[in-house]
Amino acid sequence: MILIHCPYCDEKRPEIEFANAGQAHIARPLDPSGQSDAEWEAYLFIRANPRGRHHERWRHIHGCGRFFNAVRDTVTDKFETTYKAGEPRR
């Protein structure tokens, strides 16, 4: 069970307090109805599956409740960093 640093609580907490929430930095288009089918498909369904560095979202669901972003290595399962939702991609 890994430890994850919650950027809101500012401490490492056990994995079972968290829930993964998929790839990070995929913003909902401001005007969905203005999206072409291809653009909307890309937003809805197309996700990265990198070997190595991966930006993803987690939620400290059994803690402070906040969603945040993380950079995790998908090979080693090590977290490089975590940062608050809304902060620029690292």
Binding site: C9, D10, R13, I16, E17, H62, G63, C64, G65
Partner: protein
């Protein structure tokens, strides 16, 4: 109208006492979920001090997240609704019950299923966490005294889990 109705609690009213630790149901409390972007926004509405730091408690108010506080009180004072203001005050008085876990083995008992290091969890600190698969809120009231808030529907299970672990 009919006479006062009885409260139906999910756990026994008699404390469970084991070697070095006891588990008991706390008396009914009023509870409110307080939400706002800042502690100051709530202070304006409630006219009391609201702790800033996640995990801190002050005057019965525990800061559980950057925009979330839990107020527990036995007082009968009416709460403002915060109507029209950028705050949310919600009555959750009966959402959970509070189990008091007390005694020299209190921290040890909680750590049977809670993955936090309670040796390094200061008196006065509060947090939402998990016991095995059940979400709880732990408030350290004293060196050997914890309050454990648990949603009512899970309380019977948690009572059984605590008493089983305490008996070991």
């Amino acid at each position: 109208m009919s006479e006062a109705l009885f409260r139906n609690e999910p756990v026994p009213s008699t404390p469970y006492v084991a070697d070095g630790v006891s588990i008991s149901l706390a008396a009914p409390l009023k509870r409110y979920s307080l939400r706002a972007r800042t502690a100051e926004a709530l202070e304006t509405v409630l006219n009391v001090k609201v702790p800033q730091k996640i995990g801190a408690t002050e005057g019965g108010i525990a800061c559980l997240g950057p925009d979330e506080w839990l107020l527990r009180t036995a007082a009968e004072t009416a709460m403002p609704t915060g109507a029209g203001l950028p705050v949310a005050i919600t009555d959750i008085g009966e959402r959970s019950i509070c189990l008091i876990v007390e005694g020299p083995r209190a921290a040890e008992l909680l750590m049977t299923g809670c993955p936090l290091d309670l040796d390094n969890f200061a008196v006065g600190r509060a947090t939402r966490t998990i016991y095995e698969t059940v979400e709880i809120i732990i408030i350290r009231e004293g060196e050997d005294r914890f309050h454990v808030e648990v949603w009512r529907s899970f309380a019977a299970w948690l009572w059984t889990a605590f008493t089983a672990a305490a008996s070991h």
